[in-house]
């Protein structure tokens, strides 16, 4: 009797629910299948890039970056990102404020339109600018009169990149701003803060992690875009090749070591992006749990939080 009881007690406190768990061989099989799938499709290609890049040693690897063509590709890529990312950052914030803080007709249609470039093939994203600004395009003749070149030149590359990276910041910030509502902003306004001040002091700190994540993604895509840029660039050596296009050029010339060396630069960028993404997700999760009062395990009483909050608002008013 006593033994039966303890056995039952042990069952009741067992940490895992046995009935809703698969048997060990099934678990191992599934985990093995998952790891094999990820290994074949993700890990092996990733390792291959570095293996090929260092095939002829560190010297050959480093020499790939001193090539003037590589340097001009890096310069162009940095220039394109330096224009496209701030432009879409500004747009993303303006659009997020519009969608997150007001109720108006056609709002869901607007959100769909903002996401539109994600549904468009990169090749088509380049094509539409060729149709618009190309020599036989809608504005082509007019541009030729004034000797302005957009397609097969840097402006076309910037435009195509801006199109492709258009939604990234907006779609990260919009859901968060919608979720947070506008009570804090309304409080700030009613206490006499201006619109810009409210945005800078109240809204921006609340969305900073999502904003940073959006900017990271936008930058990664801007620097790595291949399809759209390939269509508008014209592949002029040393002039209109970005880093991904330079990789293609080297690869097609069977210069594999250099191709993979330059590609490893982009892989490093991708890995840094993923690492930052993980950090930002973790930060925003902790920020959110701070933001929402935890009902079961509250550290500071409600009054204290309110007082703290009011103090913030007073500071804000005083600064005006």
């Amino acid at each position: 009797m006593f033994r039966a009881l303890t056995a039952r007690g042990a069952l009741a406190t067992a940490p895992s629910r046995v009935v809703t768990r698969e048997r060990a061989p099934v678990r191992w099989l599934l985990t093995g299948a998952a790891l094999a799938f990820l290994g074949v499709f993700l890990l092996v290609p990733l390792v291959a890039v570095f293996a090929e890049a260092f095939r002829k040693g560190v010297g050959a690897y480093l020499a790939s970056f001193t090539d003037p063509l590589a340097l001009s590709a890096i310069k162009l890529t940095l220039l394109v990102a330096a224009i496209a990312v701030p432009a879409n950052l500004t747009f993303g914030l303006v659009a997020a404020w519009l969608v997150g803080k007001y109720e108006f007709k056609g709002k869901s249609a607007l959100i769909t339109l903002i996401d539109l470039p994600l549904a468009v093939s990169p090749v088509i994203s380049g094509l539409i600018f060729v149709l618009l600004f190309g020599l036989h395009g809608a504005l082509g003749g007019w541009l030729a009169q004034y000797n302005i070149q957009i397609i097969f030149a840097a402006p076309g590359i910037v435009l195509a990149t801006m199109f492709v990276t258009f939604p990234y910041v907006a779609r990260e910030v919009i859901p968060l701003m919608q979720e947070q509502g506008c009570e804090e902003e309304e409080a700030a306004i009613s206490l006499g803060a201006g619109g810009w001040q409210t945005f800078r002091r109240v809204t921006l700190p609340n969305v900073k992690w999502a904003l940073l994540y959006g900017v990271i993604l936008c930058n990664a895509r801007a620097m790595g875009e291949f399809g759209a840029v390939s269509v508008v660039s014209g592949h002029i050596r040393g002039k209109t090749n970005t880093i991904p296009l330079h990789v293609e050029l080297l690869y097609n010339e069977y210069n594999f070591v250099a191709a993979f060396a330059v590609a490893s630069l982009l892989v490093t960028l991708a890995l840094v992006t993923l690492a930052l993404k993980t950090v930002v997700e973790w930060k925003s999760r902790t920020a959110q749990t701070e933001f929402l009062p935890d009902l079961h395990n509250r550290e500071t009483p409600d009054e204290d939080r309110t007082a703290e909050h009011l103090q913030d608002v007073w500071q804000l008013q005083g600064a005006q």
């Binding site: 009935v19 007001y102 149709l131 199109f163 990664a220 875009e225 991708a270 992006t273």
Partner: protein
């Protein structure tokens, strides 16, 4: 009387107003800026594609998009994207399942690497996959004795399209699995269902909307993919030429209208998929609500 009239006018005003009243400043100019930027960068260039095609006339359009080479590329694009998305649906589900339910060393690292195809530039994944799956590559030489040649065949195209769609199913299914109510599974077990029966009678129907959404997203992404396919496919017309590649080669021959016509078909296809995804999400939300009641 006048009071009632005033109230009616206010209600009317509210019903027809463009926006609900708000004390926050900046509605006008943020709306203006957003619409202006959206129109200039996205809507006008995209609509031009349709205008360009409309100038072609129906019969020319039809012959441009049904030419044998074009038809072959459409067939390959849809088949390889579908197969890749199906592979992702099966294995992506298993990956999501192991990440949510089991614990093993390095799990968080693996969780983070799932997003790699999102972050990796497509040209890089293209040359990496080609090297690995070519006849002398690490995986290609294992496939060679089995009589499978991956690089420069439709198999290679499918491999590349599976790679680009990989994160979609995992990221769509993961939250759905996390939200599953353990009590439903416990009830199924109590009523005598085996693990497999519980899976396909209880778990799978609940996760289905998320799984289908992931499948559709992976399919849509694969359909438009260019960079990671262009290296591994070998670009042989009629055999390994996908639609985006065909658009590029038409452009290189300065056949703008032919390229635009094919692009319009592609765009319409991806918009239809987008619509289906929205319907799926609506279905999923309804599913959850019904379960909540």
């Amino acid at each position: 009387m006048s009071q009632g009239g005033g109230r009616r006018a206010r209600t009317l005003n509210r019903a027809f107003a463009l926006k609900r009243h708000s004390v926050l400043p900046g509605f006008g100019w943020t709306l203006g800026c957003t619409l202006l930027y959206l129109c200039l960068l996205v809507l006008i260039p995209l609509s031009l594609l349709f205008f360009r095609t409309a100038g072609l006339g129906w019969s020319d359009f039809w012959s441009a998009v049904t030419a044998p080479r074009v038809a072959a590329s459409f067939k390959l694009s849809f088949a390889a994207s579908g197969l890749g998305a199906a592979l992702n649906a099966v294995f992506g589900f298993i990956v999501a399942w192991t990440l949510v339910r089991y614990s093993f060393p390095g799990k968080r690292l693996i969780d983070a690497t799932v997003d790699l195809p999102f972050a990796l530039p497509t040209a890089v994944s293209g040359i990496a996959l080609t090297t690995v799956y070519s006849r002398t590559g690490w995986i290609g030489q294992l496939l060679e004795p089995l009589g499978i040649q991956a690089a420069f065949t439709p198999v290679g195209v499918t491999v590349a399209l599976t790679f680009v769609g990989l994160p979609f199913v995992v990221r769509a299914v993961q939250p759905a699995l996390q939200d599953l109510d353990p009590e439903a599974e416990e009830a199924a077990a109590t009523l005598g269902a085996g693990r497999w029966q519980t899976f396909y009678r209880v778990i799978l129907p609940t996760v289905m909307p998320a799984l289908l959404t992931g499948f559709a997203l992976a399919f849509a992404r694969a359909l438009g993919e260019y960079g990671s396919v262009v290296f591994i496919s070998g670009n042989m017309p009629m055999r390994t030429e996908i639609v985006p590649l065909l658009i590029v080669s038409e452009l290189e021959q300065y056949d703008y209208q032919g390229a635009a016509a094919i692009a319009v078909v592609m765009l319409v296809a991806s918009f239809v998929i987008l619509l289906l995804i929205n319907l799926l999400q609506w279905w999923g939300a309804r599913h959850q609500r019904r379960e909540g009641v």
